[in-house]
Symmetry: C2
């Protein structure tokens, strides 16, 4: 078996296309700077991590041991209660969010989910999927939840357990909901029963390295946390980590025990390669390397914001964010640089592969397109 | 950044462990015979197929074009109505089953799901997840649904739309529910509204090549079909294909449109590497190669059944099945050969990598362990 000449040609052209595309990618929360080549041999085996990473089955081609080390690393990063957490490597942030909301639903069937307007569209989709009551809360201009709106909305529904879906890094502006403030709102309303899920898809990769540390993890009051592996950790294959308080998972595993399994993971067969990828990133960079990598990226974001402003473009970003928001440029620029745009804004995300030279080139393109527009044009 | 000596050693030892484990794997529906090495360069890019494979976004590092070709291939294999189908490459059979059940729930919120006792445990878990009413139906000894029990159970619930979860290859016995017979049962009860999902995780890879062709696909009445990519197609990373009638998907995409998206996929970021894997298998083997590969595997299954029986072991299998069922051997044998066992039976699945020599060696081990048991021992 082998490909014919035409198909081999297609693969080669596709590789060239990817090479070119990767050079002008500034808009999405992906990273290209970690070389995972040493893991290629593992693609030769059908690794399958089906089931609970802490349990064992007869199928030996799994990377559960590596997966557990990855989970332990993230348990530390998220200040999970010692020995009182559980988790697994997912297929991406969405699966982790689904898992968190599933836990919340099983614990509080009467609950109402509150999430901000700046949440990713998949949040509404997930809640519809799970059949959960939900209310969208207003956002502040920086993308963070409007805590006053949250307070007023929960205040008139004190008979229903609040389930807060907190964004630790919104899609467009990298706004971070403050779990500390959210806890304060619920305390004030004496809502003792509550559930807080932290969707840290993007920022979960580095929030632990920020100073001051944002209020986003288990120590701040999260009940479950979802983090993406293909964002800050540059996994070439989408993946993620979900962690939750062990007691919550135990309660739901009882509730599914009548169907004859204690396996609460959402996927059946699970990717055994991506835990190797995360393990490799953690072991080869280490905490210091990851921290340095963040600081370099942050310096580029800082540079981008300054340069844009110096050129007369209204760029802004949240404190210690990798995302720089600015007025939506011409369509040709958005397409060339693969910029995500929403309404009249666009952004770049200064992930670790983004260079100052790329920022300069983008800025040049924006300015040229502006110059090309007839004087007096509205934009 | 690089790994230290200890960690490099661990990776090497893990590779050796996988090499050894792969040599004695006969129990799970995985296959090791396709070499996907030529695709390794694509791991160097963060391929992400987020969203609908038939729509396009700004992120250009995707393999949507390959994914569409894969889907077209499967649409043909499953006799999908011309131009009236939709689908995507999933993270595995479970996601495809979830998707099918989700469609069914949106179309028939009053529906009851019927599935046989021999269904995989994930089916109950999925239905609990989606909050769908469901009833387990008895199985026949060969693992196929007991159609009489189905008839009697549906007969007294004619006010609820029946949603049939059909297994095209059960986990333990490769029993195949006959969608033709199921249709007959529902016709007889004049249940015109109905939904049939075909869980063809294992057999969907080759059912189209069997003669006579089982009643399992769109032409037989399926509304949606889920097929695994890491089983017959030997993908080293779990994946799958879900296909559904276009009209169903359009109706649910309307129902989620109020949340501002027409993206009905369950995952957010989607694996862009696995569509390349499936494309590679299809293009390099072709229909003839896939058919030949099946026939070779079937001949090994045939051989295994005969040899076991000749040695006095009560082996049996369903017609044209790769799965050979026999009395559960000693625990040491199950562990060595990674055999899935349930109650007093075990099985091997003669996937394309399984050789006659492996079957002989397993048989030898079973017989030796029997000889080792004291004479007069119950087993």
């Amino acid at each position: 078996m082998s490909l014919n000449v035409t198909d081999r040609g297609r693969l080669n052209r596709f590789l060239e296309h990817l090479e070119e595309s990767a050079r002008v990618e500034l808009g999405y929360p992906v990273a290209f700077d970690i070389d995972y080549k040493p893991l290629e041999p593992f693609l030769g085996y059908s690794l399958n991590n089906v089931g609970d990473p802490f349990a064992s089955g007869h199928y030996r081609l799994n990377s559960h041991a590596f997966e557990r080390e990855v989970l332990e690393f993230f348990a530390e990063m998220t200040q999970a209660p010692d020995g009182q957490w559980w988790g697994y490597v997912t297929n991406g942030g969405t699966e982790g969010n689904l898992y968190g909301m599933y836990l919340a639903r099983e614990l509080f069937p009467d609950g109402i989910v509150y999430f901000s307007r700046d949440s990713h569209y998949s949040v509404s989709k997930n809640l519809h999927f799970l059949g959960m009551r939900n209310i969208m809360i207003r956002s502040q201009p920086n993308g963070e939840m409007d805590y006053e709106d949250l307070r007023e909305t929960v205040r008139i529904r004190r008979d229903a357990t609040p389930i807060i879906f907190a964004n630790i890094g919104t899609t467009m502006k990298e706004g971070r909901d403050d779990i500390g403030i959210i806890q304060g709102v619920l305390d004030e309303l004496v809502m003792d029963k509550r559930y807080i899920h932290s969707d840290a898809a993007l920022c979960g990769g580095y929030a632990a390295f920020l100073e001051p540390r944002p209020a986003w993890d288990f120590a701040d009051g999260a009940d479950s946390i979802s983090i993406s592996g293909h964002k800050f950790f540059a996994s070439p294959i989408p993946c993620g980590i979900v962690l939750a308080k062990r007691g919550h998972v135990d309660r739901i595993s009882h509730s599914v025990a009548y169907i004859g399994t204690r396996d609460t993971t959402i996927s059946g067969s699970r990717n055994g390669f991506t835990p190797m990828v995360l393990w490799y990133a953690i072991r080869s960079l280490g905490v210091d390397g990851l921290r340095r990598r963040l600081h370099n990226a942050m310096a580029v974001a800082d540079y981008a914001e300054r340069e844009f402003r110096a050129a007369g473009i209204e760029a802004h970003r949240n404190r210690a964010a990798l995302t720089v928001v600015f007025p939506r440029p011409a369509q040709a620029v958005c397409e060339k640089w693969q910029l995500a745009a929403a309404g009249d804004i666009a952004h770049i995300i200064c992930m670790p592969h983004v260079t100052r030279a790329q920022v300069d080139a983008l800025l040049q393109d924006i300015l040229s397109e502006r110059g090309r527009a007839a004087p007096g044009d509205p934009k």
